[in-house]
Each structure stands twice: as C-alpha cells, then as structure tokens.
C-alpha cells in the first residue's frame, strides 16, 4: 500500500507541475502539439486514398510471364498486388467497318447493318482458329475462361450473355450469335435498346459490355456522321498462351488488313481493382457510425460550466481524431501497412480510445475553486484526476495486450493500432486538450470579471469626459425604471406563421444547404462510381437520345417510327440469307488454321482499290490502342460480377487489341438489307445530319429557358406574397398609438407595448425647455430660466442656477424676466419662487400646446413672413390663436382671455418656446429691455454649461458651482442651437448664421495651455481656471432660414450637422467651418437631429423621421410618425433609435425601420408629449414631461453592446 500511495503522490505531483506548465505557456504548447500531429500524420500522405479507381501496371508482352506468388524484392516498381496469375486475360478484337463507297441510294440503316453482320463471320473465324505447333493443338475453347450460370437475378440477360462456356462477348450476342436471327431482325436498334436499363444508370450497361466501346463511338445510329461502325469482340481468357494469341492476331490481320494502323502491340496492362463496398456492407457501417456519433454527442453534452461548450467539444473530437491519425501515421512509418479496412475499424477505435478522459479532466478542472488562479485551477484539476486517468490507461493497455495475444492477425493489428492510438491520445490530452481547457477557463474568468467589475466600479470616475470608461448601467436591479427590450428571437415569435417559416428557412439557409449537400453527394456518387464514364455517359445521352427521341416524334415526319410495328410485309428474306457467304468474303473457311506461315492476303489489295477517296475513312489512332480506357472503370467488374466472380482486390491483364478493318461494298450493304430498313428515313444529307444533334440541343436549351422563366415568375409571385408591398420605404403608417389600440403592421405583428414608471426628477417650476447632458451630468433649463444640474446616475439635483431678476408679472400671471445682464449679483440665496399660479383656471384649462409650439416655434404663416423682417422674431400670434381655436371646446374661457391677439410688433426679439405662453397676453411686458435674455439653447460638456441666449449671448457656466465663467456677446442674433465640442462651441443663430467659438482655458499656474487639437477630449475645468471664449469664425447665411438644430458627432469630431428651418440638413466640418454636404429631406423644419457612426437621423415638422447615410448623404428610408411627436430623437446604440411620443417612448430598429416596442412612462403622462429626449451613456433615457424629467434605463441594450 505504501508503494501505491507513493506512486499516487508522485503521479499527482507530476500532473500538477504539468498543469502549471500547460496553463503558463498555452500558445507554444499548442504550436508544439500541432507540429507533432502534423509530423506524425505526414506518412499518411503516402497511403493511397480510399475509394479511388483501379490501379494500372504495364508490362511488356514479349517477355511476359505469369507473376509468381512470392514477392520479389528485385523489381522495385512492381506493385505489391501484382502477384500470382490474374483473374483473366482480356483480348479484344477491335473492328472498324464501313460501307464504301457510300452512295446516295443507301439508307441510314445500311451504315451499320452489314458491318454488324460481319461480326458473325469474324466470330466463326475466331472460334474455329486453331494453332498447331509442336507442343499440341490449341484452340480458344481450351484457353478461354469458362463460365457457368449467370447470377440468379440476371435471368433477363440469359439470352444475351453466354452461359456454360467461353466468356466471349460481342454485339452478336444480341442475336444469340446467329446470323439468321440477325438477318430477320427488322429493327436492329430496337433490339439493342431493349436491353438498356431505364433511367439514370451510370455504371456499365449491357450495350457497353457487348460492343466493348462507349456508345458514342460505336456509330450504330441512324444519324452517325462518320458512317464507321466500331465494335469489339471481347475474349476473356483463363490462361495465357502467347503463341496462340499471336497466330490469331496474324490470322485476323491477314484476313482484314488495316493499312494505316500503327497501333502498338507490345504492352499489356494489368488493372487492379479496389475493394468495393456494397449495400450489404454499407448498412452495418452506417449503423456503426450512427452509434459513434451518438456516443460523441452524449459524451460532449456533458461538458459544462465552460465558456464555449462547442469549442471544447470540438477540441475533444479533434483530440481523438488526431490521435487516431497519429497512430495510423506512426504505424505506417514503422513499416506496418494497414491491411484492415480503415473505415470499418475506425468507429471501434474511437470507442476504445474514448472521450472519457477528456470529460473527466474538464469536470475536475471546472470543479476546482473559482477564486483560484487559472494556472492553479488547471494544475489542481489535473492532479486530482491523475490517479484515475493513469489507472484507466493502464487497464485499457492491459486489455489491449490481452487482445494482442489472441494471435489472430486481424485482432493483433487492431490492437497494435489501438495501443499507439491510446498513447498518442494520452499525449494529446495532456498537452493539447489541457491547454485548450486552460485558455477556455481563462476566457470565462475574464468574462466573469467583466461582468462583475462594473457593479463594483459603479461610482462615477472623478474626471468626466467622453472618453472615460463606459458607465456601467446602474446595477441591473429589477427596478421599475428599467425597460427590458424583448430579444429578437422573442420578437419572431409574434410573427405570423408563414413568415416564421420563411424566416427560419432564411436564417438557417436550409434550402441552400440542402441543395449544396445534395449536389455534393450527387457529384460524389457520380465521380465515385464512374469517374471515367461520366463524360461518356453524358455524351452518350445526348447522342443517343436523338435517334431514340426522333424515332417516335422526330423532325422528319413522313417516316415516323412505324417500322417496328410493321410485321415486315415485303422483302425477300431468302435473298438476304443467301448473301451470307458474302462475295467479298476473302478467305475460304478451311484455311482457318494457321500453320505458322501465312498466305499472302488475296483480297487486301482489292479492298484498298475499292475505297475511293470520298468514302468514309477508317482511321486508327492512338485512342484505339487502349479503347477500354474510355469505358467505365466498372466495365470489367460488372462483366465478371454477372458470373459471380469478383475483381475486388484482384487484377486482370488486358492484352493489346487486335485491329480489324472491314470495308464493305454498297452492293453487299444493299443485299444484306432487311426489307424494313427502307422504312427508315431516307439518307439524310450532310446538312440534315447535323440537325438532330443540334435540334436536341435547341430543345434542351428551350426547355431550360422555359424552366428558368417559370422559376423567375414563381419566385416573383412568392416574393409578392411574402414581402411587404412597400419594402423600400418602411413608411408603414402606424396610426396613432394609444393605449388599448395596438398598432400593427402588414403582417399583423403589433409591437409590444408596456408601461413603466420612470424615475422622476422634479424641481422645475415650469416646463422644461432645454436639456443637455454629457452622460454624467444632466442640465435642464425651464421656461423660468432656471438651470438645474442633475446627477444622471441617481437623479439627485446637484446645482440650481436660478434666473436672476426673475420677476413675476402680477398682472398677467406670466413670468416676466429681467435680464441679469452682465452684472451677476451673486446672491445665491435668492428665493426660488414657486409657481403660484394666480389664475389656476387658466393653466389648468390651457390646451396642450406642447406639440404644436414645440415643433412650430419658428414657423410662421407665410402672410406674416412678409410683414416681419426675419431678424425681428416672428409672429406667433396667429399660430397661437389657431392653436387656441383648435382647443376651444376644452377651454372656452381662454379665447375670452385673449380676444385680440396682437400682431407682432417689431421691437422685441421673441422668446422661442416660452413665447406661446407669454407674448400674447402681455404686450406691455415686452417692452422691458431685460426681457430678452432667455436661454434658447444649452449644452453641457465636462462641467461647463454653455447656454445660448436669445440675446445672442453665449455664456459658460460652471455646472457644479453654478457660477458664470465666461460670456461672449459677439453676436446679436439669438442663439437657437448650440453644439459643444472639446474646446469648440458651435452656435447657430436665428439669422441662419453659424458661429464657431473657441474656448480657451488658461490655468492660472500655467501648467497647460489648451489649444487647438491637443486639448484632451475631456476637458475638466477647475474653478480657478480662467476661461475665455472667442469667436473664431462665422459663417453667414449657412441656411436660408434660421437654424433649428445643431448636432455634433464626437466620434469623428469634425463633423457637425445642422438642420434648418428650410428643411435642409448640412454637414459641417467643425475645424475648418466648411460645409461637407447638404441634403434636403423635410417639408418643414428640421426639428431634431442625431447621428450614429453610419447614419444621420433627422426628424422634422412633417413628422417624418428620415434616416440618411452619413457618408453619401442618401436617404435610406423614412418613417412616418404620428402627428406631433417626431420632435425628439435619441440613439441608444448603433441600431436602436428612441423617439418620444405622447406620454411614451418608442424604440425602433434602425436597420430595418421596425417599431420594436412602445413604452408608456407612468400613468399620468398620457397627454404630454416628450419634447426633449436625451440618451445618456449608460443607456438611460431622459425625457421631459412638462416640468418633470423622466429617467429610465434600458439595460438590455448595454448587454447587447457588450
């Protein structure tokens, strides 16, 4: 026991150190393992790939001897399968025959009838050939391969293929090798075709077998252009006798000399066939693999508690697979060639090696204490499991060793592989998988850390600025202030079914993948079963279809294929039969015994003389030398398989072909003609010869075209059915969103509506006019001129900057303001007067003018435009009057209060938003000069508040202390919009001009001089700094009409956009002050403008939200909103847009323009519209409702961003 304990301790310590090593240097170790895997797999390159075609080996005919069974070391290039005698020797007689000269009286059938007829005499010749030399008499009967029955399933071929005798195949087999049957056959083509299989058949067909050449090359067709018929007589010989074969060769050559034939005759090719997998083997194999995959699935499913399950599962599988490859490679390296079928034993090897260790390792590492360092965790996990791993390993090795001593060769080989595989698997587990695991664990801890950090560091960093670390969302408390956006997946659930189906198909690309897989499988099957025959098959399809297709309904109408139906009325079979001893037949039969000497060919010369130059030329080329190569490589196996002889793992020897050239006279052709033959179409001229093939092509092309058109139409219809009609512009009118009235789009999908109660920031006494934020702080300014600074995180009010000199006009009940001017009396204790409404009836009954006034503040009735100079403010009287009139029913008393809204008088520059409240009733208040200085625009950056006043004065306030830091009075026109970049302020004025200011901060200690671009992006101003503000550049007439919105984008901080009252949106370069681009999109004012990195979103008085591409200035699409609520916009993330509505905010998907969700804020805010909306960095949305600010969080967006 002590030994065991000590061993255990040692193993554990070793594993611990190893774990430390792996976790410390993950990348080098992974590189090392990859390199060793590759090195071990390198010998595999020399192994032949499984499933390739047959292998060839060429020897010389002259000194050929049957190879012995013992391997001979001296012949290096001799393949190891070339041992022992072959299954058979194949001797082919390649016959090329033509009727020459061809004259016009001949019918197409003559092309092949008489040449085919000659096969019988040739067969006779071959069968009867006897070679007689000193050693004895040999004939084909003695040498050929004797076959017995066909396989039971091939009864239908019994009439065609030979049985119980020599395996000798030729086209004559179609007619049982009887000339009489051939001559009485009315339709040769039909006879040939009736044995063809129906449908797609890629392996060797009977026609290939009998003709011995690919169908295309036979020339047995009505439309053969060359008029040369080619076929072979294939003799399968069981034993090789060189003298008999050479005498046969000489005899045939003597009888039918081929003049221009220069085929090489000195090489024989041995073809070795691979083992083939039939269905019987395939089914168990597939079952095994299914079990294997189930095993892998169930194993890897148990991996848990890691960052990426899939990654680890993949690593586990890779470990096992590469260990197998390594074992095979190593075994090959040491000269152990695998004789087992790799595909068969592979699943068992995987199962033996197993994934267990990997899983145990993972589990052990994962279960170590989380707070440990990653290195230590790995090491500890490894050492915990070290003992069991080693024990398992030893057990498996023992079992395998036992298996090795069964002394069965196959099992021994398997065990050898398994041992090597086990060892390499152990190596890979220790080095590869452990390292991957350590990486994964580290990633997970990082993710954990990231998730935890923000919660801890929730305090705002002391230095505010755009570049400070992203604010964590207030801890994901399930507070009522948070809005949870539904995930897209859930959104899909609410889609109609058909769309869901289509979306599913589109998302998973099922159809595409299915087609791809199908294509690959199909190609694979074709290539696997018939690599060589594929082309010939396709070619044959085309060439063969033409006669077949035309036979029924061809382009040549009068002679439709009635021939086969006719019983053969006329004709004189006797005469055809009598032709049998053809006049051209050169040799008398008795001479068919070669005696070692040959008579001079008697008829050879006449044949040549007969051939005029215009006749079809019979040419012998190199491709005829090994014509069998053009056949399917399954040709020979299938021929032998009919007789239950397998060629798998065996080889055959193919002897050089014997060429035979036959020239037949037209007379002979006519004499052998069957009476039915003339019923066939007349001899087509050369021109029409081309026609059928081309016609087929045309037909195919036309069909393809028609199918394509049909497909396009179908797809179009499908598109129309499935896609929205106004796809391009998402201008779905959503109608007015009201509670209980769910808007829905074309698909019946209604975006969800929810309601939350926001965090309310109260404190302002009047409606909030400006809202600015830099993420940390939130500044708001109300109509009363009071500026409040809030903490955007908590909602606490930090600073109140009261409006000095604010005085209530007791007579009108409106606020009258006295400009504090340049003199700021610092009495902080100025009592903030609450709005004690003197005439509550007025305020309560006041119609809700907010949407109207908010959006229309600058627009004026055209009639008034002419009256008033633009600089002098605008007449809101008519507008207000109209608004009041509209709201007359709810507040009848109001009209009485303002019986005569005075037309605008020249002097006072009007306040912007408060105007609607103030101006009409208090004409006398306007006279005071202090009046004008209302805050029209405000911007917050760092701790500086830039406030633009109606008097054209730009002020910089300290947000924390509430003190005025600087002011600039260069302009006189009211500032309508402000943009505050690092040290630049862009101010848009009422007169349409654009001023660029530079803020200089001079530290009193002279530490730093912030100038230009070196200013850090987050300027922080301390109270001692001297801040000055200079006008650097002014662009007059930037817009034709007053600029209403101004926006800057901080990502690329040279672009600023502004939208004007003329509906134009301009993009400006902040640094140079030049205009970048300029687009028109709205029919009224541009009221709001935001931008993301890729697009600009604008909304206008026409309640249209336009989304523009930022770089090109092209309108992407627009969203029509309900009336009066398109003024406020905010972008939460790149793809999420928030708009304010009547008591609610809506979320839009920017990519598609879809309304995602509508959230009502609180109970009471139903009637009030959101006029200002600011999105803070931490995905909080601040919007104003009257005098209150609402703060809500959208935490789900942040998660998505991460």
């Amino acid at each position: 026991m002590t030994v065991r304990e000590r061993l255990r301790e040692k193993i554990s310590a070793a594993f611990y150190r190893h774990g430390l090593l792996c976790a410390s240097y993950p990348v080098p170790i992974i590189l090392f393992t990859s390199a060793s895997i590759l090195a071990c797999c390198y010998p595999l390159l020399r192994l032949p790939l499984p499933g390739t075609g047959p292998v060839e080996f060429t020897t010389r005919v002259r000194d050929y001897t049957v190879p012995s069974h013992e391997p001979q070391g001296d012949l290096g290039e001799r393949p190891d399968w070339y041992r022992g005698p072959p299954v058979a020797y194949i001797q082919q007689v390649l016959v090329k025959a033509a009727v020459s000269p061809w004259d016009s009286t001949l019918v197409p059938v003559d092309v092949f009838r008489s040449p085919l007829g000659r096969v019988f005499s040739l067969l006779e010749e071959i069968r009867n050939h006897v070679h007689n030399d000193g050693s004895g008499v040999r004939s084909l009967e003695a040498l050929c391969l004797q076959v017995t029955d066909l396989l039971p399933g091939l009864r239908r071929m019994q009439t065609v293929l030979p049985e119980h005798g020599c395996l000798l195949v030729s086209p004559g087999n179609y007619w049982q090798n009887q000339r009489e049957l051939f001559d009485s056959d009315p339709d040769l083509l039909k006879t040939v075709h009736q044995h063809e299989p129906k449908g797609l058949h890629t392996s060797a067909t009977l026609r290939d077998l009998l003709f011995g050449v690919p169908v295309k090359h036979t020339g047995v067709s009505l439309y053969s252009r060359k008029r040369v018929v080619t076929y072979t007589i294939t003799m399968v010989l069981g034993s090789y006798d060189a003298r008999f074969l050479s005498s046969l060769r000489a005899r045939l050559r003597q009888l039918h000399p081929s003049v221009n034939c220069s085929l090489r005759e000195d090489h024989m090719v041995h073809v070795h066939f691979k083992e083939e997998i039939g269905m019987a083997e395939l089914i168990p194999l597939v079952t095994t693999y299914i079990i294997l995959f189930a095993y892998i699935y169930f194993s890897t499913r148990k991996i848990d508690m890691v960052k990426s399950k899939w990654g680890l599962a993949l690593a586990a599988v890779v470990t096992v697979l590469s260990s197998l490859l390594m074992s095979v490679g190593l075994c090959t390296l040491f000269g152990l060639t695998p004789t087992l079928n790799g595909g068969e034993i592979f699943p068992y090897l995987v199962v033996v090696i197993g994934l267990e260790n990997v899983l145990v390792l993972t589990k052990s590492v994962v279960s170590t204490p989380v707070d440990l360092e990653v290195k230590l965790r790995i090491a500890q996990g490894l050492s915990n499991e070290s003992w069991s791993i080693m024990k398992n390993m030893a057990t498996e090795l023992c079992i395998i060793l036992i298996g090795y001593f069964t002394l069965v060769p196959a099992i021994q080989e398997f065990c050898l592989f398994a041992v090597v595989g086990l060892v390499s698997d152990f190596f890979l587990q220790m080095f590869f998988f452990t390292t991957v695991l350590s990486i994964d664990i580290r990633r997970m801890e990082l993710a954990d850390l990231n998730r935890r950090l923000p919660a801890e560091a929730g305090m705002p960093p002391p230095k505010p600025g755009p570049l400070r670390p992203r604010e964590a969302p207030p801890p994901p408390r399930p507070s009522p202030y948070t809005i949870t956006l539904q995930t897209p997946a859930f959104r899909n659930l609410r889609l109609p079914k058909r769309l869901r189906v289509v979306y599913f198909l589109a998302r998973t690309r099922l159809a595409q993948r299915f087609i791809m897989v199908g294509t690959v499988i199909w190609i694979g099957i074709l290539a696997y079963t018939d690599p060589a025959g594929l082309r010939t098959y396709l070619a044959a399809q085309v060439s063969e279809q033409s006669p077949l297709g035309e036979g029924g309904a061809g382009g040549l109408p009068p002679h439709l294929g009635v021939a086969s139906v006719f019983p053969g009325p006329g004709g004189d079979p006797a005469s055809t039969l009598s032709v049998l001893p053809a006049p051209a037949e050169p040799t008398p039969l008795p001479e068919n015994q070669s005696q070692g000497h040959h008579g001079a060919p008697r008829e050879g010369v006449p044949h040549q003389a007969q051939a005029p130059p215009l006749v079809p030329q019979i040419s012998w080329g190199a491709e005829d030398e090994e014509g069998w190569r053009r056949l399917s490589f399954r040709h020979w196996p299938s021929l032998f398989s009919y007789y239950n002889i397998t060629l798998a793992k065996r080889y055959i020897s193919i002897l050089p072909v014997i060429p035979v050239t036959l020239h037949l006279s037209p007379r002979e052709a006519i004499e052998t003609r069957h009476p039915q033959d003339t019923r066939h179409p007349p001899p087509p001229s050369l021109k029409t010869n081309d026609l059928p093939a081309d016609l087929t092509l045309y037909k195919v092309a036309a069909l393809g075209l028609a199918a394509g058109v049909l497909l396009v139409l179908l797809l179009f219809c499908l598109y129309r059915v499935l896609c929205p009609r106004n796809y391009g512009q998402n201008g779905v009118a959503h109608g007015r969103r009201r509670r209980g009235d769910l808007p829905c789009d074309d698909y019946g999908y209604s975006p969800p509506i929810s309601e939350i109660s926001p965090l309310l920031l109260r404190g302002h006494s009047m409606d909030i006019e400006c809202l600015a934020s830099d993420g940390m702080l939130l500044a708001s300014c109300c109509l009363a001129g009071q500026i409040r600074v809030w903490d955007a995180q908590t909602g606490d009010c930090l600073t109140v900057i009261p409006k000095h000199g604010l005085r209530r006009s007791s007579s009108s009940g409106c606020w009258e303001q006295r400009d504090g001017g340049r003199v700021f009396d610092e009495d902080e204790g100025y009592p903030l007067r609450r709005r004690t409404t003197p005439r509550p009836a007025l305020f309560e009954d006041q119609p809700d003018l907010t949407p109207l006034i908010d959006t229309n503040f600058d627009s004026q009735p055209p009639s008034h435009l002419l009256l008033t100079p633009p600089r002098d403010g605008f007449d809101f009287g008519g507008l207000v009057e109209r608004a009041y009139l509209e709201h007359e029913p709810p507040s009848p008393g109001l009209t009485a209060s303002y019986p005569s809204p005075s037309p605008p008088s020249g002097p006072p520059p009007q306040r912007r938003r408060s105007l609607g409240y103030i101006q009409p009733p208090v004409p006398q208040g306007q006279g005071t000069p202090d009046w004008e200085s209302a805050v029209w625009a405000m911007e917050l950056r760092g701790n500086l508040i830039a406030a633009g006043r109606s008097s054209g004065k730009l002020e910089l306030w300290d947000a924390v202390e509430g003190s005025l830091r600087c002011s600039n009075e260069d302009g006189v026109s009211g500032i309508t919009a402000l943009a505050f970049l690092n040290n630049r302020i862009v101010a848009a004025r009422l007169d349409g001009s654009l001023d660029f200011f530079t803020v200089d901060i001079n530290k009193p200690l002279g530490l730093l001089q912030y100038r230009g671009d070196n200013i850090p992006p987050s300027p922080c101003y301390s109270s001692e700094d001297v801040i000055s503000c200079q006008l650097t550049r002014s662009v007059q007439c930037a817009h034709q009409k007053p600029i209403t919105v101004l926006n800057t984008h901080t990502h690329t901080y040279q672009v600023s956009q502004c939208g004007g009252q003329d509906g134009a949106i301009c993009l400006w370069d902040v640094l140079t002050g030049s205009r970048v681009s300029h687009v028109y999109g709205h029919r009224g004012d541009v009221t709001s403008l935001v931008c993301t990195t890729s697009c600009v979103i604008s909304s206008g008085l026409d309640d249209l939200i336009c989304i523009w591409d930022r770089s090109t200035g092209i309108k992407l699409y627009s969203i029509q909103q309900e009336v009066g609520c398109g003024a406020s916009l905010g972008v939460i993330s790149e793809s999420l847009l928030v708009t304010g509505g009547q008591g609610c905010v809506s979320f839009w998907d920017l990519n598609f323009g879809d309304l995602l969700q509508t959230v009502y804020l609180g109970q009471s805010s139903d009637g009030q519209g959101v006029r200002q909306l600011v999105v803070l960095n931490n995905a909080a949305i601040v919007c104003d409702f009257g005098s209150e600010l609402s703060l809500v969080y959208v935490p789900s967006v942040l998660e998505k961003l991460d």
């Binding site: 396989l151 039971p152 399933g153 091939l154 392996s203 083939e276 039939g278 269905m279 019987a280 083997e281 089914i283 168990p284 079952t287 095994t288 299914i290 079990i291 294997l292 189930a294 095993y295 169930f298 194993s299 499913r301 148990k302 068969e344 699943p347 068992y348 199962v351 033996v352 197993g354 994934l355 899983l359 079992i399 036992i402 298996g403 069964t406 002394l407 069965v408 196959a410 099992i411 196996p637 299938s638 398989s641 239950n644 002889i645 397998t646 060629l647 798998a648």
Partner: protein, 233 residues
C-alpha cells in the same frame, strides 16, 4: 438468429437516444404502466432494427459487387426472426432493471448515455469481428469472443446479477436455436455447424449485457421523471 438478438440490443441503444426528447411527453403521460409499454415498445423496435442490420453483417460477403437483391438479402432469414429478437430484447431490457429492483442493489456503475453508446458500439464490434475476421480455428474464435464478451461485461456492467442473467439467457437462447435447427424449423445459412455454435453463445451473452444496459438506462430515466413528478406534486 443469434445475431438478430444482438441486433436488438443495439436498437435499444438507439432508443436511448430518442428518449430525452420524449421526456416531457412521457412526463405528461406519467402513468407507470404506460411508460412500461412505451419502454417495451422502444426496446422492441430497437431489437427489430438491430436484428436486421446485424443479420446483414453476418451475410457472408460473396463475390457480387452488385448483388441485384441486396435489399432482399436483409430479409433473407425467416420473417419471424426479427420480431423474435425484438421481443427478446424487450423482455431482457425490462427484466434487468426489475431484477436490480428486486435485489435491492440499484445499478450505479457508469449510468450515462455515453457509456451505453459505447457499450453498443463495442457489441457491434464484437459482431463485426465474428463476421469478418478470419480465425484459425473455432476454438480460437470461441475464446476470443468469450474474452471480448466478458471484457464488455467488465467494462460496462460489473454486476453479478447482470453476469448471471447473461449467462443463463445466452445458454437458453443457444439451446433453443439448436433445437429449432435440429427440428428443421430453421436452417443456418452456413453449413458449418461448429462454426456457428462457437460464436453463438458469446454473441448472445454480449447482446444480453448490452440490452440490459440500455434497459437500465431507460428505467433510470423513467425513475428520474417519476421523482420529478412527485416533487412537483
């Protein structure tokens, strides 16, 4: 026939795969006898499938590259053989957990689906070896297969009850097959009686072990469902 029982074993493992997905469904039904029937049916179908497939494995690979009747060779043996194997596998698969329950020693060793899969794969491998590997003589074949079968039992089962039941059933099955053959009801495809007799018992034993493994796993799953249900109640 022996191989067919083996086949049935394998099929059982296949059913194990489908089981988790059906879990909720079963929970809905949650009737003890119903689950028993479902379990039995699954085992039966697996048995039939495996009988067919493994029979094919045993068909001696003859010459034919394209035997025209490959599919029909699947059904070459008598029609009643696969159902018999299915029934046998169902019985065995139900018997094993039952005996465990009676003996009061629930089987705890490697109770997970991956192990079951591994067991089935090894079982098929044993079949494969008996069909494809050329042994010098029948004794060697018998010994090898016996060693493999016992190795299978040791790796995946290790329970005495499992071993005993396996031996008993294997002997009974071999005996019944021999009786059937002697009575002429049935004939081996291979004329060599000794050859078949040498591997038949081992294959039967391995098949029984595998089937028992699957049956136990299925029963375990069912137990889990039951306990969950009681918790819910």
């Amino acid at each position: 026939m022996a191989d067919s029982t083996v086949v049935s074993d394998q099929q059982r493992s296949g059913s194990g795969q489908t089981n988790p997905s059906r879990g909720t469904y079963i929970a809905v039904i949650t009737n003890r006898s119903t689950t028993l029937v479902i379990r039995g049916f699954m085992l039966f179908s697996i048995g039939v499938f495996l009988a067919l497939v493994l029979n094919l494995l045993q068909v001696q690979r003859n010459v034919t590259l394209f035997p025209p009747d490959v599919i029909s060779s699947i059904f070459s043996s008598a029609w009643w053989v696969p159902p018999c194997c299915g029934t046998a596998s169902a019985i065995i698969g139900l018997l094993y957990p039952c005996i465990d329950c009676r003996l009061g020693e629930p089987h705890k060793f490697k109770r997970e689906w991956s192990s079951v899969m591994r067991c089935v794969a090894v079982f098929v491998g044993i079949n494969h070896a008996s069909a494809k590997v050329d042994f010098a003589n029948n004794v060697q074949l018998s010994l090898t297969l016996a060693a493999l079968s016992i190795g299978l039992w040791w790796t995946f089962d290790r329970s005495r009850s499992g071993f005993g039941l396996g031996v008993v059933i294997a002997l009974l099955a071999t005996l019944s097959t021999q009786l059937l053959v002697y009575n002429g009801v049935f004939q081996y495809t291979s004329p060599d009686f000794l050859y078949i007799r040498s591997w038949l018992p081992c294959i039967f034993f391995a098949g029984v072990i595998t089937m028992g493994n699957i049956g136990r796993q299925l029963a375990l799953y069912e137990c889990k469902l039951m306990s969950e249900k009681t918790h819910q109640d």
